[in-house]
Symmetry: C2
């Protein structure tokens, strides 16, 4: 009799964005004439950079002739893309990595979801709170998170609150945790850590033999000098951290699917007997067994991001979103709200007025000004009393949303 | 201290095709003037159908304008592709499935590798032998396969030998097994099961509450009437089987990455308490958490396979490969070899003469006629004494390889 993995049954049935979609549908049915402005889900709206379009057309044409056809590629990705990454994302910042430390994937969600497979199911884990739900859910699925308590917290997860009270700087734990997820610039709060703050985490990890999963999907939005683009800017990080990168928010690849994961050769984890094992080797084996590489066409598109033309086009798109972020941040501040993020990230984290609950404030915005955000509590218990807005919308929508909110207040 | 998943350490260090690549490299270095004919690895060589090329160009252009840009798609795939699949692959054979029973993916390797996640790690499992290595390796990684014995077999895996002696028809087990992997048309043997033979497996599964993972990646190569294209042609299969399909070998998508998995709503597995749980729901949750959908451009390319033009082009490519298979099969037979497969599959399974070992025969072919095959034992213990040749090469290479082998004999 085939038995199910019962850890899956512990997951709450509904997913944050499905719940929101249902509430939006209800609103639409009951308010057919109203125009909604959606500043909720973190999907991009600008088209792909022209350099990527040109490169993908060329790659599609290559697939049409036997002489230039590409079949199975390397599971780890093509060298042309890996070389472009090493040169532009790392060497330019003084970080030296080798090609076999880079794994091209079909997006950061897959790898952040799958990475836990190479580790024992009963390692302890910690997350900053609020956080991207995949980190916890993927650990629930293998039993690592434990049981869900009435307070909305999982029993084997250490939550590191990030709120206005601590300036969104998570406190270093006072005990050993085996695996820590850090996402900076942060989704959902849009806040960052300075190099000095991130160094404290690397030092903690080295002292405690902790493995850091560092999600840098929003790295391209960093504007301030003192914010690290890669955790490997911190000395010693190659011995304790895996870094996840994505082209989704950098170059609009949410529908094209490409990102990469850095697993340094120096990084090891232990067996029960204390033997040290290369995590790079384990992850390579995982990818060779359960993944067959990313589309050749997609990888040629991603390579084009690193051309002079591609870089200029990516910069223009990010400037557009960051101008949206500025308009929203300043608009909300002038309306009297407390807002965070939006300086080095496309996310605005809004404190609800008078400690209104996240879901209640979400509904007020939906019904009273017809603007859709994402309830902060959907990202974890410490998100209660906040709402996330994203800067990925159309310029006019951002301006109109601010106008409506100012009028409403 | 982060601890590794020690099951990974049980996997033999090298992968079949890496070992072969090394031997080929050694040969090349020591025999620089010789022209090798590679009939080993199962990658296609014909370009993509023109219909797919046209569709992908159009999709790339859509991504270049904000009005037609596509960001995140559904994790389960776009309706346009799912509808084309339902109509052409199933309704046309009298099989009724609903859209939510289809999950578009980035290739069958990912899903055949990941599907085991939704089941308890200690279910018992069975595989036909020889077999595609991913089935076993992915189960080793979660501990389900047990320990590797000196005989090359894993302790918790039931091997169902398929050899010339039993006409490559696996014997129905005399005891209950929780999960059975079946791949038909078979990789590596190229053999098939008739509808009557496959029905015995469905009946066994229903009687024993067994879950069948049915890999139909080579379905498009079936030529004979009595060979089922889908396991759902057998009554009751929706209650016991998941089917994996791939566009890799159908339409040359090995470098484009697209396939799909069918998880019928009727299919359930049990909790320890005996409660029945929908496997479709679990798999949907897995995909929504750890996968972000397949590239929009890729899915538009796959949709074009189902147009009248696309179907004609796919047929022409498959006819080309199957003519290669005929040439190789008949060439080898006339040279006195016993060969199997190649009638409903792009694989030829060659019995080595005089019970020569697989690896020894592989080296004889490599060094004496400069033809590369794949040693049968690389696919499992029952593959010893066989060699796999694939029909995916160039026509002239197949003809030349047969000429060399005839001369050699």
């Amino acid at each position: 009799m085939a038995l199910v993995n019962e850890h899956y049954l512990k997951l709450p049935g509904n997913y944050l964005f499905s719940d929101i979609a249902k509430k939006i549908n209800t609103f639409k049915v009951t308010h057919p004439g109203k125009r909604l402005i959606r500043l909720g889900i973190g999907d991009v709206t600008r088209p792909l950079p022209q350099a990527c379009i040109t490169a993908m057309h060329k790659a599609v044409d290559e697939m049409s002739k036997a002489e230039t056809f590409h079949g199975y590629g390397p599971e780890q990705g093509y060298d042309f893309l890996i070389e472009a990454i090493l040169k532009n994302d790392f060497a330019s910042r003084g970080i030296s990595l080798s090609p076999t430390e880079i794994f091209i994937n079909d997006g950061a969600k897959s790898d952040t979801g799958n990475i836990g497979e190479v580790l024992r199911w009963d390692n302890s884990m910690g997350v900053t709170d609020p956080i991207y739900p995949v980190y916890i859910d993927s650990n629930v699925m293998c039993g690592r998170s434990g049981e869900l308590g009435e307070d909305g917290k999982w029993s084997n997860v250490t939550y590191l609150p990030c709120t206005a009270e601590n300036h969104f700087i998570p406190q270093i734990p006072d005990r050993r945790i085996d695996i820590i997820y850090l996402c900076y610039p942060n989704n959902p709060t849009g806040t960052t850590l300075t190099k000095a703050e991130l160094k404290k985490w690397v030092d903690y990890a080295l002292a405690n033999d902790t493995l850091i999963f560092f999600d840098a999907a929003y790295e391209a939005y960093i504007r301030e000098d003192d914010v690290p683009h890669s955790i490997y800017e911190i000395k010693g990080a190659k011995r304790c951290a895996i870094e996840f990168r994505s082209f989704s928010k950098t170059a609009g690849f949410t529908g094209v699917r490409c990102g990469y994961t850095v697993v340094p050769k120096e990084l090891t984890a232990a067996t029960l007997d204390g033997e040290r094992v290369s995590v790079n080797k384990l992850w390579n084996r995982r990818q060779c067994t359960k993944f067959n590489g990313t589309s050749y066409i997609t990888q040629r598109g991603a390579e084009a991001i690193y051309t002079a033309e591609g870089k200029a086009q990516v910069k223009a798109t990010i400037d557009y979103y960051m101008e949206n972020a500025r308009i929203m941040r300043e608009g909300l501040q002038s309306a009297g709200f407390k807002v965070y993020g939006g300086v080095n990230a496309p996310y605005i984290w809004l404190k609800t007025p008078d400690n209104t609950g996240s879901w209640r404030f979400f509904e007020q915005l939906l019904y009273e000004v017809n603007v859709v955000g994402t309830p902060g509590v959907g990202f974890g218990p410490s998100g209660e009393g906040y709402l996330r807005l994203t800067a990925f919308g159309e310029r006019e929508d951002c301006i109109e949303a601010m106008r409506r909110i100012r009028m409403w207040i």
